[in-house]
Amino acid sequence: MTAALELSGLTKSFGKTEIIRGVDLSIGKNERHAIIGPNGAGKSTLFNLITGRFAQTGGTVSLHGANLAGKQPYEINRMGLSRSFQITNIFPAMTVFENVRCSLLWSMGYKYSFWNLVARSKALTEGAEAILEQINLSERRNLPAGVLSYAEQRALEIGITIAGGADVIMLDEPTAGMSHSETDYIVELIRKVTEGKTLIMVEHDMGVVFGLADYISVLVYGEIIATGRPEEVRSNPKVQEAYLGEVLEAEH
Amino acid sequence: MELILVNLIDGLVTGLLLFMLSAGLTLIFSMMGVLNFAHASFYMLGAYFAFQISLALGFWMGLLIAPIVVGVLGAGVERYGLRRVHQYGHVPELIFTFGLALLIEEVVQFLWGKNQMAYNVPEVLNFTAFAIAGNSIPAYKIFMIFISIAIFIGLLYILTKTRVGMIIQAALSYPKTVEALGHNVPLVFMGVFGVGTALAGVAGVIAGPVLGTFPGMAFVLGSIVFVTIVIGGLGSLWGALVASLLIGWITTFAKSYNILMSDILNAVGIATPENLDDNIFRDLWTITSPQIADILPYILMVLILIFRPYGLLGNRDA
């Protein structure tokens, strides 16, 4: 069966500095896969390589078997891959409802049309309402997105990411900066909205990782030093030495 | 051969003048990310102030005092105007400097009227330095070259060899870090804006007698300065120098040699149409290089923006 996302020999250098030093990773369909690693390991760079923000220096990235080399981010998005950002990246001047509705436009086939009025389309409105329901922001639908609280904005971010119907969802530190209860809430949300989809997540919160992920990969200095089921990774001595160590003891 | 030398000198004068303007603009842009649309207006103010001062105290006092006045004015604009608008984003900043340019032009007209001022070359420099093949080179032009080069060297020295220069260079790239280190970055900003506009003022003081001191002078030179820094690469001082000289020489040579478009087209193998007056392309055929000399920089800029968007020597943050 074709992997949902396949990285093979992936390298990335900025000038002489090699950030990603040969990553091989295969993520299957409907898998929930977490990527962890110390700061500076290259997790965000990896994300940017996969989503087309940076060009690969070497190696390949394949989505459902199709090579993503040279493709623009919007092309990759149309192929079924969507991502969220570490720093909240919504449209602050538009209302919450608008934010979600814009995320639906392409997937509903509207493209660059200037002959439909978005307000007239029942499909768009109902679709947006449904997403708002899922992320629990129906009450706030008419507020400018910029005035939402941090956690609400993160929830909106997730909503925008999944709205387009992509089947490979990449979330970049979705619970960053959240309190305990907010984290639980977001985790439940993620679990709900990624049913039947492939999820790739970068996270620092070990509780979230071990609670949500089917598989974990550990990225250290641009290389994957371990990958597998959570229990295997947790007990892997290399991982413990390089990364988890006391952190793991503290968590559990 | 001698004509080439004359053109080289003329082009150098223009280029160095342009550089004085674009250097200040580049400093301001690198530091604050603001493209100061009103930069040429400070150039104009320099000329007018110098003229006014020279009426009472003579040309040399004007040369000394006018740029300082302009610089102080510039610092004031930064402190009380630009800083306020900065919070609204880059587009309002651009619009602010644009409005400022309009206002300064109106104020100048208000104070001095619409006619050209009798701001002349000082007597002591008003002679012919030497002649090349029958073309006389005025001493004033040599003076302009010297002043420009002196300022350039001074600028280079301050930026690379003094402590203040180090701080400025650092603040150019990482203002927040420099601030965290205890330096008064807002003061640095104000100072750089003041120095940048003072440079424009100096250019005005020395160019006023030659290019004319009238309310439209900012407008005439304004857009060329922008073209210069775009071609050189936004944020690069060396790029500004290269681009200024390039533009100075290209426009001078184009004006002085009467190259006909029809000759070029003929050389490529396209024969001149017979009935040129009725032909729709008649204008294309009758183009001569002096005619398009002034728009060559714009053509160059558009080409560069298409093929080399960061300019000749620019860096990626444009």
Binding site: C102, N142 | V85, P92, F96, I295
Partner: protein, 429 residues
């Protein structure tokens, strides 16, 4: 379906689902009725100019306000559309083609759009400084070329034509200004309505999204570059319509229509009116045209006042006049507008007198410096006096100082009342 209870945006703001018909009907009625109220020729001429400027400003705001793209050379699209139409008019006159005049703006629009497609092909890959610089360069280039390419642009004299060239359109030959007025009004309503609808289409909505966050828009499946390109094309289309109407109205088009001045003016107008609201440019165009035509009769310094107003707008109310107006909406919604009446009177009235006083002083200084020798008399505010005498200066100076002082004293009170008026009564949320 749409709950308005916690809406802070008004129906006229981009983003709501309601398409209010009322403003359009009122607008249409006003357009029809105005020439009956102001029925002398000069008023109609001014109104014609106003409406043409409104179309141009709305088209410009498609880029500036909706798309976040600052263009410094936008007059060329209006100018090119105008020149093209001028040539069509002359062609029809020479060769007797049956093209009715009312259809001409359509061709202007198509030409403007075509031209925008050429330039937009390379200019829209960026949206910030790079876009602004290319627009500046192209604008200057075309304006300079217009002197050189005499065949198309007519050189220094421009191109002129005759709008009564063709067959009468249902009996109307468009000889009279009033007939041209109704033609312009028709195209104004049509263009404004189409531009409004455009902002509600997928590409119009995405233009807003790309303005706010071009990176995010990419991950919604949209190429930011293409969205900007389509906005640019659409803007060029409506600019061309404005150009065609200009050609019809003035029957002459010159290099002035293409140059940096005209581009600068439209930026000023749009920003003054307010870029954040659809109707902002409409207000800006009307206000500026009035300033330009009416004020320029009173004083030579009108451009100085316009520049000051512009700068004040950027510094103190960057939302423009529309923004100022809309600031009052929450207050009206809370029913607190009566609270503002007294503070407004106490602060704005002296403020207005103070501003007029400063203007008087400026006029007096100007007259003192620049009037011809011996011409000591000047007239402002219906009073004639000698500008070289001391008394007028003292009077104006004292009145101005007093007015400004009163304004300053009353201003804090206004601030307080404003804050109160914005607070929902009976406890907040």
């Amino acid at each position: 379906m749409s709950t308005l209870s916690n809406t802070t945006a008004s129906p006229l703001r981009a983003g709501s689902m309601i398409l209010p018909a009322a403003p359009w009907i009122i607008g249409a009625l006003l357009l029809c009725v105005l020439p009956w109220i102001f029925n002398n020729n000069s008023s109609i001429t001014i109104m014609n100019q106003m409406w043409i400027t409104v179309i141009f400003a709305l088209a410009y705001n498609m880029l500036l306000g909706q798309g976040g793209m600052l263009s410094f050379g936008h007059a060329v699209y209006m100018g090119m559309g105008g020149f093209f139409c001028m040539h069509i008019m002359n062609y029809v006159e020479d060769f007797g083609v049956a093209l009715p005049l009312p259809l001409l703006p359509l061709f202007g629009g198509l030409f403007g759009m075509g031209f925008a497609m050429i330039i937009g092909a390379f200019s829209t890959s960026g949206s910030g400084v790079r876009f602004a610089m290319i627009s500046l360069g192209v604008g200057e280039l075309i304006a300079a070329c217009s002197i050189i390419i005499v065949a198309f642009f007519g050189g220094e004299e421009g191109i002129s034509g005759d709008r009564t060239y063709g067959l009468p359109f249902f009996g109307v030959e468009f000889l009279k200004q009033i007939e041209v007025y109704y033609l312009i009004s028709f195209w104004l309503l049509l263009s404004a309505f189409l531009m409004y609808l455009f902002s509600r289409t997928p590409v119009g909505r995405m233009a807003n999204a790309v303005r706010d966050n071009p990176e995010r828009a990419q991950f919604l499946g949209y190429s930011s570059r293409w969205v900007r390109f389509y906005s640019f094309m659409a803007s060029g289309f409506f600019c061309g319509i404005a150009g065609a109407l200009f050609a019809i109205n003035y029957e002459i088009l010159t290099e002035e229509n293409l140059n940096a001045s005209s581009s600068g003016v439209i930026l000023l107008i749009t920003f003054l009116g307010g870029v954040g609201f659809f109707f902002g440019p409409i207000i800006g165009a009307i206000a500026f045209t009035l300033l330009q035509t009416v004020l320029s009769l009173e004083t030579e310094l009108w451009a100085f006042y316009a520049g000051t107003l512009f700068l004040a707008t950027v510094m103190y109310f960057p939302g423009g006049l529309a923004g100022l107006l809309m600031m009052h909406v929450p207050i009206f919604r809370l029913g607190n507008q009566k609270k503002l009446i007294m503070p407004y009177l106490k602060t704005l009235l002296p403020g207005a007198i103070g501003v007029l006083g400063v203007a008087a002083l400026v006029e007096m200084i100007f007259h003192y410096r620049h009037a011809a020798l011996g011409d000591n008399e000047m007239t402002i505010f219906w009073t004639t006096f000698d500008s070289h005498a001391i008394l007028p200066w003292v009077v104006v100076g004292v009145v101005t100082a007093l007015a400004l002082y009163i304004t300053k004293t009353n201003a804090p009170d206004l601030y307080e009342t404003w804050g109160e008026a914005n607070t929902p009564s009976g406890g907040g949320k």
